[in-house]
Each structure stands twice: as structure tokens, then as C-alpha cells.
Symmetry: D2
Subunit: 248 residues, 4 copies
């Protein structure tokens, strides 16, 4: 995985005086879209995470591509980005290594740290394997979006995210909100039963019914696509399972 | 407030087959940046919320501007957006009215509902008043970002968001994550003591120290800017309070 | 009219070494789209011109909006823009005044000139009048695009542009390529007969048949829209004239 | 080379009624930036040409990448694009073949033609060779931009473009305006003496002094970069030649 971090962003946002919040929101979301587009061109997938810190599943994206993206961002934005790359058996461990690799070069607000590419390790293509779960809330549109206020729905979605994050991190899996009522979880090492157990616990604890499509492939693009297809199978009633897996 | 909702988005994302996740992420974040830029041109402020449902503080943005933005999006994206507008004493109540106004015209996945502008009520300029709190985590960069893994930091930030949402909604205030360790809360009707109490409770419950700058002005742009300035005063040590208010 | 000029752009593009041409092309076209969107929010219309120098018809766009746009660009791009504003009877004269006003503050590559807003004069709303002609080539798709090589068609389009610019500048009118086989000409002071004469001359000289829709309104947005509608009337055969005018 | 053509664009722009010109300008320039970014990720280079028809030097970009880009655009814009690919000794011949290949599938305004990828031929990597000339006007900032009106400068730049196109097409070379006073010419098969002769003719005919940096490499990105470096050598006075060539 790759950690993408804006260099010295916090201080920049308030120098010389606080920049218009709307401009910062535009900058952050366009930067995310831009980085997403460039990693996607190499079959990677980026999650916005905190916007100033993004995490990406980058199996198959080489160091040269990372450098090209850094340079391209530096040429078109008022800020620069540093990156850390790590590889491990679980996504949690991979991002931990990626974070540590970058942290070695100085803090996020270190004025002297700029456009660093810190590589702890990268997976070689023949061993590359990505497992991603696409999780959503059953029938949210009819049961929530169309009935209760928009904020209440987003409150519930955030609550679900909070519970999912708490349970998945214990398994070495990550969870990212991807809009609507959808979440994506890079979850190498977590088996379907493990995911089902988490879904059942959440139904018990907060009475929200979830389902998950799981994709397994050599890169994030294919794994995410298979996870979508698996989720469609559940939605379409082709399977009664709450967790459905599709391999390449 | 205005609720901006993508028309029939869910079905579109999987028709004829699931679209590449990266493309959807790019589409959503560019749409948000685009809508933000257009509302900002009229001193409004948009929060991405769930991306397919966005909430905006739009005091001073007229119906004509809303229509222009709808049309402009319809001309440049593969999707269209409907909007609901509501006004009330508290942000929560305003978004509730905005949601109800739009829901009357059909569900988010109703194929026949397209580019609706549903107005429950709008505030007239002389009565317009916006209060926004900019809340962040004290010294997160040194204590978290530069030390622990990136995902762990975002886990803590999400946890803080979850607790803040829970406490603020009881006061009729909303909370939105705006990146990094920053949150913005439209909080008309909530006094500084009320915000301080919530900050203290969170420090007790999850041991995370927060601070809040509060801005009061006729529109969201000015209120957010004053909130930023107030937060800078705390950061700069010009006040020892954890909640600092600035009026126009 | 408003001249929008990137500050000290040339030197920036080659410092420290020439930046990737693709990045510069992306930067320029996104900057244009961005500035267009913001002026359009105030019913203005921007032409990309040379990209590092853009000309815009900005009747009705106030000094405050110009400043807001400058600041917003400065917050989101690695470059800043300066602007000059001029008003006159003819578009040519207006851009001449706008250019002179900005030139007074230093050259385009003057390192010390940054985010200048130089106002020579602005039209007040009750006297505001914009005349825009939308000119295109008759049946270009069937006669050229679908038959000859793409470059040959663009060669012919450029040739038409060259002849139109030469003839229109003598009348104090401007001409901008807006894509495809379309041109827009801010042409206050030029009557339909004058435009028809130019179209006929070009048919004689280079044997290309043109037609023009002309719109007259208080701002660029409405004038351009009326020009489009007038052109549609000719395309639709509702008039046999080669030049058709629509007023508000 | 690759021809990228928006499917049935003309009719779309006026259906049901003419769309706001500003929106079309934003759509076109963002589409160009987007396509540029995606081809650039594979070391290609796109020229905006007529915006609804773009020409790109795509040596080294495979059919799969072309398909990915088409799909990505189709997922995020209200329009789709078709592409034709051709290979030849000269750029002119290559775009001719690319155009013919696409034209076979139906016209640009054929309602049934959608997302076609028409391949006449592609160069294999070991034979791939791109020659690009970066041509600009000597001292334009001091002599024109900072002295005469902005439109007059763009008039002169367009005049230079017109003359360059006329002379280069006879040599099988193409010419594209890339902003400011800069032009790029894919010119495989044209030797430095040929370029110098054209520059001298233009100085004689319209008294404008040009210079050219020429780059030779296996792909467009490297060739353009070498052309930039060669031009810098002339600007820096490291060579007195008006045409300077750099090879990989």
C-alpha cells in the first residue's frame, strides 16, 4: 500500500491568513480525484482517508509511476506530496510499514521534507494478491434516504463506519467510506466467515443489515470490480448469502 | 440549508454493469468540487456528506442560482442533481425541512424524478444568520500523524467525528468532516458554553483534546472564515479558552 | 472586457527545468475551465485566447467578484493571475484599455507583479450592452470532418479563423475560436450588413460558406445564448439569411 | 497517432436547446485535460486541435490503454469518445490513416456510432520514433505582450500559426498551438535544415523571428521534453542556431 501525504499542508492552509474553506475543499477533492485518476491508470485504487493523508492499494504500480505522479502534482498544485510504500500480508501491516517509511524522513509539517518517496517494500507482480470487500447497507434508499432527514442517514452511515472500522482493524483489515452507503475494505487474510461474523455482530449491536461482495485478484482495480460483481449477485438474489466471493 | 442529491445514482453506478470504482470516486469528488465552487461564488459552503447527498449552508444563495447550478451540472456530467431548500432556527431543523421538501417529489432512486428544485423556505437576507464552529484536535501532527500509522490516526479522527455527531445532533447542530483533523459544525442556537461542555465530555470519554473557533455572520463564507480566525487565535495562544467566538 | 494574465508564467514553466508539456497543457486548460466557471457564475464569458492571456466579456461582473476569483485561483494553483478591466464602445477598444491598464503595473514576466487588479473603467449596469456573433461553417461534418483527414479540417478551420480575425479587427470586433467549427465574435458596433459582407468576402476568397447568429443583451451569457438561438434558426431553415439577429 | 473524436457532439450541444456556451467551454477543456492526463500516464501527448476532435502522439500507448481511457470518459462525462489509430513514416500520413480508420465506422454525427476504437496500425516499440519541434516567437513578452493590446498579440500568434501550418503540412508535418507563443510540431522526416528554411521564410514574409528546439525519442513525452531542453539551449545562448536538436 501507498500512503500519500501533502507536505506541510496544515501551516499552508493558514498562511498568511486562513484560506477560504471552500477553496481548501475544492483543492482537496480535486487533488484526490487527480491522484485517483493517475493511480487508476496503473490499476491502483486510492481512498481519500483524511484528504491530506490518502491510502492507496498500489499492487502493480511501480516506483517510477509513483515518481511521475508526485512530479505531475507538484507541477499543477500549490502544494507537493510525499509518499511511503509498504508491503505485507495484511493491509493494516502494509500501511503501517508505509507510514513508518515516510515518517523516517520527517514529520508532515516539517518544512524541509518535500516530495519524498520512501519505499519500505513493494510486492513483486507474481506474488501480488489483493482482497477487497465492498460492503453496503441493505435497502438504505427505501428505509432511510427517502424517509428520514439527509443528515440522520449520514449519521447512521457514520455510525456503521465506526463499528466496521473497530471490528475490522482487529483482523488487520482496513475500511474506507466510498460514498452513499458504501464501504470498501482491503482485507487480505480475512476469510468470508470472518466478514460474515462482523456483519452479524453489527446487526445485533446496532440493528443495521449489511452485505458484502468480496473480490480477489492481483491488483486493486480487478479486486474492486469483482467485489462489485459479487455484491450485485447478492442484490440480484442470485445468492442468499450475506457475503459472496468472486475470484479472478 | 440545501440538500443536493444525485438523481437515481445508485442504479446508474451498476448499469449496465458495475462501473470502475476509481471512475466513481473521481466523478463524486469532482462533482463535489464543482458544486462547491459554484455555491462559493455566492458565498455558500457545501459539505460532501455522503457525496451522493450533500448538505450546504446557502444563506444568501437565491433560487435562480440554485437552478443555474443544477443546469450547469446537467450539462457537464452523466448524472443530474435535485435539490431541496429549507430554513429554520437550527441547522438540523433546516436540513430536515430541505429533505422533506425533496422527498415529496419522489425517492432518490425514482427514475422519473429529475432536476427537481423543492423549496420549503428560504431566509431573507436581513434575517440571515449563520453560526459555524471549526473544531480540530490539539497537536495531532506531533502526537499522532508523525508517530502512529496513517490508518490509526484516521481511525481516531473517525471516532472523534462519531462522538461529536452524537452530542451535537442533540443540540440541533450538524457536524461535517472537512479533512485532516478538522470538522465544521453549523450550530445556530448552540452557545459557547454548550460547545465547551461537549469538548470537555469528549476529553473525559475518549481522552482526545479538542478546540473550537466559532464564527457568526450573515453567510456561510464569512462565518467559516471568522471561525478559522477564531481557531487561529487559540492556536496562537492569544486566548486560553478552548472555545473562541468571533462576530462580524 | 477583462484581460486575465498569468503572472510570470513563461519563466515558471522552465524553472528549474522545463516542466512536462502534458502537465502544462492540463494546468492551462483546467485553469481556463475554472476561471470560466467562476465568471459564468456572474454571467460573464471567458475566451481561452492564448491560455496564459485570456480575454473575457465581463459586463455585470463587479470588482469584488474579480478579486474573489483571483484569490480563489491563488489558493488552488501554483501560479497567480493579474487582471485588467476596460470599457469602451467596441470590444477591441475595451480590451486595448484593459491591456494598457494592466501593462502599467509591469510586464507579464515582471517577478514583482502579482495578483494585480487594474481597472481602467467598468460599464454601469443600465448602460451595459453586449453584442456577440456565433459564426460557424456550413455543413462541415458532411463536407469535411467525415471525409478528409482530421488535421486537414483543423487546417481549414484555422484558415477561416485567420481571415475572420483580419476582417473583424478592422471593425473593432474580436474573434475567438470556441471549438469544432465555431467562432464567437464580441462585435458591438458592427451591424448585420457588416457581418454579412465579411461572410460573403470569405466565400469569395477561400470558398468557405459561413453563417452567423447574432445576440444582443445586457450581459455575455444572454448575448451568447441568443446568438446560439439565432444560429439554430438558420440551421433549422426558419430563415434564409446568412446572418440572423435576436434581441432580448 | 490517435484521433479522439466526441461522438455526435454537435447535435448534443443544441439538444433540446443550445446549452450554455460557458458550460460547453468548461466541458471541452476539462475533457481535454482529462484525456491528456490519461495518455500522459502512458507517455503520450495530446493536442486539443478542435476540442471535439483531438490528435495525439501515442507511440507506446497500447490498444488496452485506449479502451480504458474511452471507458473512463464514458463513465464520467455526458458524452462518449471514439478513437482511430494510425501509424506511418510522417505524422500527417499517420493522422490521415487514423482518420480514415474511424470514418469507416460512420460519421462524427452518426447517432449509432459510439465508443469505437478503430485501429489501422500501431508501431511496435522497437521501431517507435517520435520527432517533435517546439517553436516559439523570439522575445514576444517584451516586444508584444507588454506593449500592444492582448488581442493584437493573439492576432499575430494566430498569423504565425497559419503560416507555419501552411508550410509544415507540405513536409508531412503537423503544427499545434500549445498556448502563449508556443507551437509543437510532430515532424518525423523533416530535417533541421527544412525547419530552418521555414523559419527564415516566415521572417522574410511576415517579419516574425522564430526559433525551434527539436527532440528525438521513442515516445512523445521524451521527444517533447528534449525539444523543450533544446529550446532552452537557444534561449540561454548556448547555441546561436535558430534550430537546435537533441536526441535521447
Amino acid at each position: 500500500m501507498t500512503l500519500i501525504q501533502i507536505d506541510n499542508y496544515g501551516p499552508w492552509t493558514v498562511t498568511p491568513s486562513p484560506r477560504a474553506e471552500a477553496d481548501l475543499q475544492i483543492l482537496q477533492s480535486e487533488l484526490y480525484a487527480d491522484i485517483q485518476r493517475q493511480f487508476a491508470a496503473n490499476s491502483g485504487l486510492v481512498f481519500f482517508t483524511r484528504f491530506d493523508n490518502m491510502l492507496a492499494v498500489t499492487n502493480g504500480v511501480g516506483a517510477e509511476e509513483h515518481l511521475r505522479i508526485q512530479k505531475s502534482i507538484g507541477n499543477r498544485y500549490p502544494i507537493t506530496v510525499s509518499m511511503g510504500i509498504g508491503a505485507a500480508e495484511t493491509p493494516y501491516e502494509a500501511q503501517r510499514k508505509a507510514s513508518a517509511a515516510l515518517q523516517k524522513y520527517g514529520g508532515a509539517q516539517n518544512e524541509n521534507r518535500k516530495e519524498i518517496l520512501a519505499i519500505d517494500g513493494m510486492v513483486n507482480s507474481d506474488e501480488s494478491f489483493v482482497q477487497i470487500a465492498h460492503i453496503d447497507i441493505n435497502g438504505i434508499t427505501n428505509s432511510l434516504t427517502d424517509i428520514i432527514p439527509a443528515y440522520d442517514t449520514s449519521f447512521i452511515v457514520n455510525r456503521v463506519q465506526h463499528f466496521l472500522m473497530k471490528k475490522l482493524i482487529e483482523k488487520g483489515s482496513l475500511l474506507f467510506f466510498i460514498g452513499g452507503d458504501n464501504f470498501m475494505s482491503p482485507c487480505n487474510g480475512l476469510d468470508p466467515e470472518g466478514i460474515l461474523k462482523i456483519i452479524e455482530e453489527i446487526e445485533d449491536e446496532i440493528n443495521i443489515a449489511l452485505k458484502a461482495g468480496v473480490g480477489k485478484a492481483p491488483n486493486a482495480e480487478k479486486a474492486a470490480n469483482l467485489a462489485d460483481l459479487a455484491l450485485e449477485e447478492i442484490r440480484g438474489g442470485f445468492t442468499y448469502k450475506l457475503v459472496h466471493v468472486m475470484k479472478e
